[in-house]
C-alpha cells in the first residue's frame, strides 16, 4: 500500500480523515506529517467520497472554536472568511475539522511553519456529526486528544 512520502507531505496541504471514538475527524496537514496508517489510496477514496457528499446543514448550525475567533479578531471579515471557509464546509458535512497549528506574526498574518509540529487544533464542529463513520479508519490508538477535545497530536514516523 502506497504511503505519502516525506517530500510529498512537506509540499502539500492534505485533507485527511479518520474516526476517533465515534467522532468523524477532518484534518488539513499544511505541510505536516500524517500518520502512516493513512495510505494514499484510502485517503483519496475518502477525499472523493467527502467531496461528493451533499451539504445539508446551514452554516449557522456549525460552531467555530472561540479561540480561533479571538485570534482572527484583528483581521477583516473577508480574510476571516477566506481562512475559515474550507473548515466550515467540512463541519457542514458533519466532520470535526482541524488545522495543523499555525502561528501569526505581529501584524496578524499567518506564518507558515515547517517545524514538524504535529499538533492540530479544532477549527469548526458540526452540530450533527456525519453518521457513516464505518467508512473511516479508526485512529483511537494512534492520535492523542486533549481532554477538552480541541487539539490532537501523534508520534511521527518517517515515510521514505
Amino acid at each position: 500500500m502506497k504511503r505519502y512520502t516525506d517530500r510529498y507531505m512537506f509540499s502539500h496541504d492534505i485533507d485527511w480523515f479518520f474516526v476517533y471514538g465515534d467522532k468523524p475527524i477532518h484534518a488539513a496537514s499544511f505541510s505536516g506529517k500524517i500518520p502512516r496508517e493513512i495510505t494514499c489510496e484510502m485517503n483519496r477514496e475518502m477525499q472523493s467520497f467527502v467531496e461528493q457528499m451533499e451539504i445539508n446543514v446551514e452554516q449557522a448550525e456549525i460552531e467555530i472554536s472561540k479561540d480561533i475567533l479571538d485570534e482572527l479578531e484583528s483581521v477583516s471579515l473577508s480574510q476571516r472568511q477566506a481562512y475559515l471557509h474550507s473548515f466550515i464546509e467540512m463541519a457542514r458535512k458533519g466532520f470535526y475539522s482541524f488545522d495543523r497549528i499555525i502561528k501569526y506574526d505581529e501584524n496578524g498574518a499567518p506564518i507558515f511553519s515547517d517545524d514538524e509540529t504535529n499538533t492540530y487544533r479544532l477549527i469548526a464542529s458540526p452540530k450533527t456529526p456525519f453518521s457513516g463513520v464505518g467508512n473511516l479508519i479508526s485512529l483511537d490508538n494512534v492520535v492523542h486528544f486533549s481532554n477538552d477535545g480541541t487539539t490532537f497530536s501523534f508520534n511521527v514516523e518517517s515515510n521514505k
Binding site: F10, D13, S48
Partner: protein, 166 residues
Amino acid sequence: MDEDALKKIENDAIEYCHKMVAEAKAMRSDSDRHRYQWDLYSVIVSCGDGRNIRRGHNQKRKEKDFEQPLRDRLKKLGNIGDRPRDADGKVRTDACGNVCHLIGSCAEPNAANKLLKINPKFSLKKIEFSKAYRPRCVYKDDYTPIAYCQNCIDTFETIKNKTNNP
C-alpha cells in the same frame, strides 16, 4: 517595475490558487480519476522580471537544484536543505521566536529559480514577488497572505523592502 507588472504577478498567484482549488474539487468529484494526485500545495508564490512570470511552491531542495546566483545567495544563510544557524550553532529563530525554515525550501526561491532558468542574467535584487498564499485560504475575492519568512527576507532585496515598507 511598473504597477501593472506588479499587479500581473499578484493576480497570477491568486488565479493559480483558484485554479488549483477548482481542479482538486473537479478531480475529487470524478471517482474514475481518484488515483491521481489532487492535494493542494501548502504555499505558492509568483515572481517576475517585468516580462516573464513563474510560480513556485514550497518543496525540499538540494544545492544542485539552484541556479548559480541564487545558490550562492542561499548559501550565505547556511547549507541548502538545513536550517540556518547562529554563530553558536543554535538553529536561528525569527523575531517571533519561530524556527527558521529549511534553506531553499520556500516557494519564493523555487519560483525565482524557475525565472533564472529562462533569464539567467536577471539580477536577483530585481525579482519581484507576489504575496505568499495558502491555496486553501484563497476564497472568491478573499485571501489572507502568509507572512514572508526570515530566510526570504534575508535572500531577496525586494521582499526585504516590502517587509520594511508594507
